[in-house]
Amino acid sequence: MSLDKFLVVSAALFCCGLYTIMTRRNGVALLMGVELILNAANINFVAFSHYLGKVMGGQIFAVFVIVIAAAEAAVALSIFLRLFATAGSVEVDTADSLKN
């Protein structure tokens, strides 16, 4: 298998994530889109590391990203929990009290 196939999968995954972020209003859905983008990036890291580098830097970076993504998901979900408790929904458009 050549590198470009991995990159195509990765780009498709990124576009799915981007599309999710741009079209959805639901906070949880946005979080899912972000996870897709992060995983697209992970695929890239691992693919480039496998084909180009002789060291394991890409793989290690991917592990880091997964950890950070887990932490980010925990923080973001707890924020949405509080948002739901106060505003009654997790639609991000409704959380505009700082702006107005």
Partner: protein, 734 residues
């Protein structure tokens, strides 16, 4: 003299005592028990005790005509050229003045406790009495003409405050202003005199001035001008002829004040000044002084003849007696003038307080409301009578002792300078007038029948605090306190003149004759042993005495020593002649003054007791004269139409100039400014503020537009992000 001059050493405390009570009374008097009169009394009694202590140390223990206690410290120095010293000078004259001032002041304080009882401004009255005592004591203790002037103005201020004490009365506030302004006129001359002396000698201290004048730094006409300038101050303060108008009006003040300030002490300050500066007066200046005194004493005595207000009569008699003192000093009677100062303080204060007692009893000042008061007020009557006997010049009373000396010196002067005989005749005649008008006052007030029965029934003897001062002062109206052991004549001797005759005139016979009174004094002075000079006593008089002799001889130096010796022999002969004339004159003057005083008293008895001559008929017979005298020679009216009118016209012209020209210029500048400001204001509003507002508006507009970009919606940001990446990608690709 011994070294334990305890009181002398602390002499500077004497004026500070009343000063402290002034501050206590003016600030806290109202809250103190008895409104603080005891504070003033306590300090003035302490001052009296100290003054008597000094009197004992100086007069009794010191007993030397040259006694002098002089302490001085530098006070102010400017550029090594202008020195003012602060210090005190106590000699025989000061010691006597200290006792006179503190004694009369103490008695007046005591009298005021009764007289001012219940006055709403009781504490302020005592505060003013204290500040007056402070100023007067400072004045007599001054050792330089600079400080004398300061205290001179301070007594003027306290006099102003006390004359206008009842300022609710329009007449009192007018009188206080009149006194103050009239004194200013005299003080202008005084200041000019001081400045002439300072300009020529560069010193202020009495001793230094005398030494400088004796050294020839100030001679001739300029010295005469300086002397007349100093005398101008005395003219104002001692109410001499052109400026005498304020003193009778000053009687608007409370009567104890009249006794203290306007009879006994402050008005004598002018006489004291002449006595203090005696060595610098030239013969011409003395002539001016003598004639001024003579005119004053005559005018005032004639006015007193036609007055009915008890205080006005006493006021004019004060002016007249001050004229006697000034005249005495002017004709060379140094001892006589100052003796009259001391004796007059006693008997005139006695009579003024007596009049206060009478006014207190009958509530009227018109002597024709009174009559027969001797039965109701025996103490007041007897003390007043003693005072009257003293002023009339009856033997064994103090007035005889001093007035006789003045008349004797005047006669001696007239005999030596026959063209000035008026200087003897007028005072002698006036002595008779004095006896007449004073006994008129006594007879009308205390004898005869009660004219106003309501007031007579109401009358009563005054309380003890008011009677006691009368008794003390009456005792001092006898001659023995002054004649005992002849101490006054021994201790108060004329200082030698420091005047240096100008070089051109040193030779001629005429100026020598002019200087006769001065020479007469020197002749007398030689009789007192100069060897008794105290060890630490400075004797500038001695230095001054040597100098004029040398300088008088200086112009003759060119002619050789023989002629110089001749002059001194001639001078000795002249001095002997003067001494002889003086002796003869005093004998003649004594008998004449006795006769004149006796005539005056007899005339008063004939008119007012026996009724042989009806005063109403006399008045009708010479009505124009009476009207003229009753209106005080129309001096006030004369000043009203001349000086006051002139000053008012000048003031109005100045006011016009001020309002039209000065104010006009100011207003013009103001309008110009206003116009300029209006333009500047518009520029500020439109351009400067406009720029600032434009910046602000642009910022607001920009903000309003740009804030729309910040939606806060994440998909907008994501869209822009992606769009940006796409654009970058396209830019890179093509």
């Amino acid at each position: 003299m011994n070294e334990t001059n305890f009181f002398l050493k602390y002499a500077y405390i004497i004026p500070l005592l009343p000063l402290s009570s002034f501050f206590i009374n003016i600030f806290f008097g109202k809250r103190l028990p008895r409104k603080g009169d005891w504070v003033s009394l306590l300090t003035i009694v302490t001052a009296l005790v100290m003054a008597i202590g000094i009197f004992y140390e100086v007069i009794v223990q010191g007993f030397s005509p040259d006694f002098k206690y002089h302490v001085t410290y530098p006070w102010l120095t400017v550029m090594d050229r202008f020195h003012v010293n602060i210090g005190i000078l106590v000699d025989n004259l000061t010691a006597i003045m200290l006792v006179v001032v503190t004694l009369v002041s103490t008695l007046v304080h005591l009298f005021s406790v009764g007289y001012m009882h219940g006055d709403p401004k009781y504490n302020r009255f005592f505060a003013y009495l204290s500040i007056f005592s402070f100023s007067m004591l400072g004045l007599v203790l001054s050792e330089s003409v600079f400080f004398l002037f300061i205290f001179w103005e301070l007594v003027g201020l306290s006099s102003y405050l006390l004359i206008g004490f009842w300022f609710e009365k329009k007449s009192a506030s007018y009188a206080s202003k009149k006194a103050f302004i009239t004194n200013r006129v005299g003080d202008f001359g005084f200041l000019a005199g001081i400045l002439i002396i300072f300009a020529a000698t560069g010193v202020f201290g009495f001793d230094e001035i005398f030494a400088s004048v004796a050294a020839g730094k100030l001679t001739g006409t300029l010295l005469t001008m300086a002397g007349i300038g100093l005398f101008c101050g005395a003219v104002g303060k001692s109410a001499q002829f052109p400026l005498h108008v304020w003193l009778p009006d000053a009687m608007e003040g409370p009567t104890p004040v009249s006794a203290l300030i306007h009879a006994a002490t402050m008005v004598a300050a002018g006489v004291y000044l002449i006595g203090r500066m005696y060595p610098v007066f030239t013969a011409d200046a003395f002539l001016v002084i003598a004639y001024t005194g003579t005119v004053t004493l005559f005018i005032a005595a004639t006015i007193a003849l036609a007055q009915n207000d008890i205080k006005k009569i006493l006021a004019y008699s004060t002016v007249s007696q001050l004229g006697f003192m000034v005249c005495g000093l002017g004709v060379g009677g140094y001892t006589a003038g100052l003796a009259h100062l001391a004796t007059h303080a006693g008997f005139k204060a006695c009579m003024f307080l007596g009049s206060g007692s009478v006014i207190h009893a009958v509530h009227s000042q018109d002597i024709f409301d009174m009559g027969e008061l001797r039965k109701k007020m025996p103490i007041t009557f007897v003390t007043f009578l003693i005072g009257t006997l003293a002023i009339a010049g009856v033997p064994f009373f103090s007035g005889f002792f001093s007035k006789d000396m003045i008349l004797g010196d005047a006669l001696a002067f007239a005999m030596l300078n026959p063209k000035h005989y008026a200087l003897f005749i007028v005072p002698m005649f006036t002595a008779g007038l004095t006896a007449f008008y004073m006994f008129r006052l006594v007879f009308v007030t205390f004898f005869g029948h009660a004219r106003d029965h309501h007031k007579f029934d109401h009358a009563h003897e005054s309380p003890f605090t008011m009677a006691f001062p009368l008794i003390v002062l009456a005792l001092l109206s006898f001659a023995f306190p002054f004649e005992h052991n002849n101490w006054f004549k021994t201790l108060i001797v004329k200082p030698k003149s420091a005047v240096v005759l100008p070089a051109g005139a040193g030779h001629g016979a005429a100026p020598k004759h002019e200087a006769a009174p001065v020479a007469a004094g020197e002749a007398k002075h030689e009789a007192t042993p100069a060897a008794e000079v105290a060890p630490h006593a400075v004797a500038p008089a001695e230095q001054a005495a040597v100098a004029p002799a040398e300088h008088g001889a200086a112009p003759a130096a060119g002619h050789g020593a023989v002629e110089t010796a001749g002059i001194s022999a001639e001078e000795k002969e002249h001095a002997a002649h003067v001494k002889h004339v003086t002796h003869v004159a005093h004998g003649i003057a004594m008998y004449m003054s006795l006769a004149v005083a006796g005539t005056g008293i007899l005339l008063a008895i004939v008119v007012y007791i026996l009724g042989w001559i009806d005063p109403a008929k006399v008045k009708a017979a010479c009505l124009p004269v009476h009207t003229f005298l009753a209106n005080k020679w129309y001096f006030d009216e004369l000043y009203e139409v001349t000086i006051i009118a002139l000053v008012m016209a000048a003031a109005r012209a100045m006011a016009w100039f001020d309002q039209k020209v000065v104010d006009g210029a100011v207003n013009l500048v103001a309008s110009i400014n206003k116009w300029a400001c209006m333009f500047v204001g518009r520029f500020d509003n439109l351009v400067v503020d406009g720029a600032v507002n434009a910046v602000a508006n642009a910022t607001i507009g920009g903000g309003t537009v740009l804030r729309r970009l910040q939606t806060g919606k994440i998909y907008h940001y994501a869209f822009v992000l992606v769009g940006g990446v796409v654009v970058l990608f396209l830019l890179k690709a093509f």
